[in-house]
């Protein structure tokens, strides 16, 4: 397997990082590849890097920021004046670094805005792993918040997040997904990240998010979605491929007549969402 295939496999198999983190990792990867491509001219280099970036974009179809961040980088490359190969590599790297910085800043700004909606001692449910929500937790860690985190089967990244927030000194409770209906009525608010946000406000996130949103709606609890704007799909996109992962992750033995579904994402309709929070501020529902 060559280095490009190794990188694509890394992105396909990553279950621990949020979509923003993974998008920034893709920019690090294309930057590294630019230094490894053996070629004679800028035109050939551009053509090869465009093909590779497209392959990375296709690796995680449910995660818009990978597509958007790489596309912005590719678009910027097109606008660069003609360089020597060495100059092109340096400029492409600089462009990627700027985008990574701007993405990190956006996540922190969204988290800071979100933190202004959270009263001290709030009981908060979150789900799966979101870098924006993790940034929020670090901001609020000394304000007496209590976290309630479903484990997030099959790979339990919720349980891993809980171990981390407990280490940060935050009072943290892990529940099974099956207890969501019991616990949502007992929290003050729910906040999740997003993998993709459609123009109509529908949110693609870890499968199970829609159940929490439904339960929050039924219990009249605020349900916030926080994300950097790179998560937004284009106006003409109303669906993404909902990725399905290995059946073996559920741990069952193969058997006749027995199948396993392992869809990783679901879509939460906008009408269950109280507000969308980005680096631009808070957008309330209606």
């Amino acid at each position: 397997m060559d280095i490009k295939q190794q990188y694509i496999q890394e992105i396909v198999e990553n279950r621990d990082s949020g979509a923003s983190e993974l998008a920034r990792r893709c920019l690090e990867i294309v930057t590294d590849i630019i230094w490894k491509i053996q070629t004679n001219g800028v035109a050939e280099m551009k053509s090869e890097i465009i093909d590779f970036a497209h392959a990375l974009q296709a690796a995680r179809p449910s995660m818009s920021p990978i597509k958007n961040l790489l596309q912005t980088w590719l678009d910027n490359l097109q606008t660069l004046p003609t360089f020597t190969l060495q100059e092109f590599r340096l400029e492409a790297m600089k462009t990627a670094e700027d985008l990574i910085e701007s993405s990190k800043r956006a996540v922190d700004e969204a988290a800071t805005t979100l933190s202004q909606l959270i009263k001290p001692n709030s009981r908060i449910m979150t789900y799966s792993y979101s870098s924006t929500v993790f940034s929020l937790i670090k901001i609020c860690r000394n304000s007496g918040i209590q976290l309630f985190i479903p484990e997030s089967r099959p790979l339990c990244e919720g349980a891993r997040l809980a171990e981390t927030t407990a280490k940060l000194g935050v009072d943290t409770t892990v529940i099974t997904e099956s207890q969501i209906g019991l616990i949502v009525p007992k929290v003050d608010l729910v906040v999740v990240g997003a993998d993709t946000v459609f123009k109509n406000g529908d949110v693609v996130n870890k499968a199970g998010t829609s159940l929490i949103a439904m339960a929050a709606h039924a219990a009249n609890k605020p349900f916030y979605v926080a994300f950097e704007k790179f998560k937004q799909a284009n106006a003409e996109e109303h669906s993404v491929e909902l990725e399905s992962m290995a059946e073996s992750e559920l741990g069952l033995k193969e058997q006749a007549n027995l199948r396993v579904f392992n869809y990783y994402f679901d879509i939460t309709p906008a009408h269950y969402i109280t507000a969308w929070i980005t680096e631009d501020g808070v957008r309330l529902n209606r």
Copy 2:
């Protein structure tokens, strides 16, 4: 640990049986104990067996049939004329056997009635393990039904049920609880059992049932609850203790600031339920 404590522990720790099965098992247990109690008279025997039956009733507070079936048996014992000790043992055993038979018949009758609501080739979601639903599946196994069964964390009795139904030749798909919101809109109906049913129609069942009911309601899919009438709580009961099991079942290491909730049951409000099916027939919602 004496035999009585062993039996109580068996009932407390059982996670594989539905509430009806467990209630019938309790009758087998009291029958066995009656032959093991060393006593001189019927009065002393009655007093001892009443105490033990009460301890069994308290072992699984979320499961009404254990309370109801044992109580019916105890009430019947009170009406028996005075016997010799040997006659009392035989009559008490006979009474228990009759109740076990009548409970099994009720489960089968509820399943038969329910089967008349299921069209051939239906896509059916069920949840956790219900003996009534399992009886239904055996009735419908050759009519082309497809089953979709959440794994039912933490001990995954849903996955065990799925392995059994697949062995019976029924097309079976296991999902995580987190995929409930994705899959419910794709099935034709949901059917679950119950641990307790209140007079107002609210249903106590494995935690997560309320989420499926909410998702079914949102997707306009029928949500049926099937149970023998011994599951019904008394008119004056509007709540049960929702049992919480060992934190260790979720498999996390102990850590400062980190707790685990492991509530086994939730309450599904009557307004999400399409119909209640018992040995008496179908009661539609409104």
